[in-house]
Amino acid sequence: MTVSADEVALYLKRRARWSPFEIAFWIFAFATIWLFPGKYLILKDTAILALFALSLDLILGYAGIISLGQAAFFGFAGYFAGLVAKYGIINEPVIALVCSGLITAALGFVTSFLVLRGSDLTRLMVTLGVSLMLGELANRYSNITGGADGLQGVEIEPVLGRFRFDLFGHNGYVYCLIVLFICFVIARRIVYSPFGLSLRSIKGNTLRAAAIGVPVKWRLVAIYTVSAGLAGIAGALLTQTTAFCSLDVFSLERSADLLLVLIIGGTGYLYGGLIGAVIYKFLQDWLANLTPQYWQFWIGLVLVVIVLIGRERMAGWVRIVRSLLVRLGTWLMPRLPALGGAAPDGR
């Protein structure tokens, strides 16, 4: 039973094809700009949260690293972006955004060596410790960071010199959505690359991965660095679009909420963070309207219930829904040659 190299290549590449579900998702996402004109602020928050969750998914869902410390990168970049804008060091937001991402990635690189040692609990503690430490530092140097009052007096220049962030949040939202999409495409490429494949092998069977020549530690350092960079971009987006940054970016609650987002949405398939962010924001908004003071109770309850039901069972439900959608897509594809629907060779 022999097979040609071309068929092998095709087989391996098929996983990376953009499914109809994905295309529909992004069309809808961009359509929200016109569909929900009054909701820009919450949509923008959702987009930022989605990017933040995506960054965690890369290390949690693809490399198996449990971290409570993504807030460290979020907050670090948040303050960085705020400070460079406030003191006029970098005026153009896009450049500031890229710089924030890069410097936060560097921070991620430096701390990655701490994170890769020890057990799950050690990792949890170290990641949490780093983010709380940064919070304390920000508090200590309140003459620079504004301390408990937050960073004041930040003024953001128009994006690319043309698009000023207005009060209704329209430009802010479009900006965040575009950044989210670009980061998503990059993450997607990474995940479907040989590098991404090696990450999945590390997560699935670290012992064997090392035994076939995968330099485990370096791959994990690399993905942790990338993840830190993305989390940083999310943090910088928040500061840029709200012209404000405060100490709660480093809080435990923020990291815990992030875990909740990924639990709701599922890990390991990239869209978990995005879907989870949407559901979470919706849930939060709804609950906050119901019980403004105690919505935390219901979030806690949701967490408990989700765990009790079991993520496997929920992942099973998600899989059923997904395969239904995929089947729908495959049925649609040949009928839409415009989307490049040459009938694939079976399943």
Binding site: I66, G118, M133, R140, L259, I299, L301, L303, V307, R311
Partner: protein, 286 residues
Amino acid sequence: MLTILYDGIAYGMLLFVLACGLSVTLGLMNFINLAHGAFAMAGGYCTVFLVNRLGLPFALGLPIAFLITALIGGLFERTLYVHVYARSHLDQVLFTIGLVFMSVAAVDYTMGSSQQFVQIPEALQGQFEVDGIGMGKYRLLIIVICGLLTVALQLILAKTRFGSRLRAAVDDQRVARGLGINVGAVFGITFAFGSGLAGLGGALGAEILGLDPTFPLKYMIYFLIVVTVGGTSSITGPFFASILLGIGDVAGKYYVPKLGAFVIYAIMIIVLIWRPQGLFARGAAR
């Protein structure tokens, strides 16, 4: 300076009583219980209610707080926690964080969000002057009670049958079961006891640590530091880790006030870099 040492030791011993239940739980069932602080909070509020509202004497309020919290712990263990034992660490973290959120909000709702103070008896207020060192009377009580508890715990572990069953189960669960030890019962009792201790610690600590609904969130990290640095395979590990942390925190807040807890986090990270399994742990990672 000696006052700082004294305060630090008192603080550390309090931390120890609060955290040792968590340490045993983690070492015994490999279960990360981030809601441990919630039991401490329960004990604190219990005492507040008993002493302030019902007028019970402080000396009675403490043991009752212990008992009630132990009961709650045992109840939760049988009904909720038992479903999550076999799950991954991530699930345990999420589950217990969820419980924390719920308990924080519930207490906020029922008892209000302001800080609560326990009416400690006259005899315990103020301080002794010994050689020019101010030794708080209340802190002395803490040192005495916690010291006695530590000794009692060591004795229970080392000298009683239950203690040896517990140590066996911590060492190797499967073998312990194979020897006929009812590991489930051991865990249930230990969990209840540990929660009770946390409640007692919360009651004792209300005066020093401050009791409000955010207590579990504020102090969870401290307990986790004690457990991570001290390791889970002994009582002495977390004990020394607690003392170290207690002194470190008090000293840090005195000498570099603005950095506050930075000192502790830094200590923890340095320790974990040096010894990922904790300062006093022996053997392989879990």
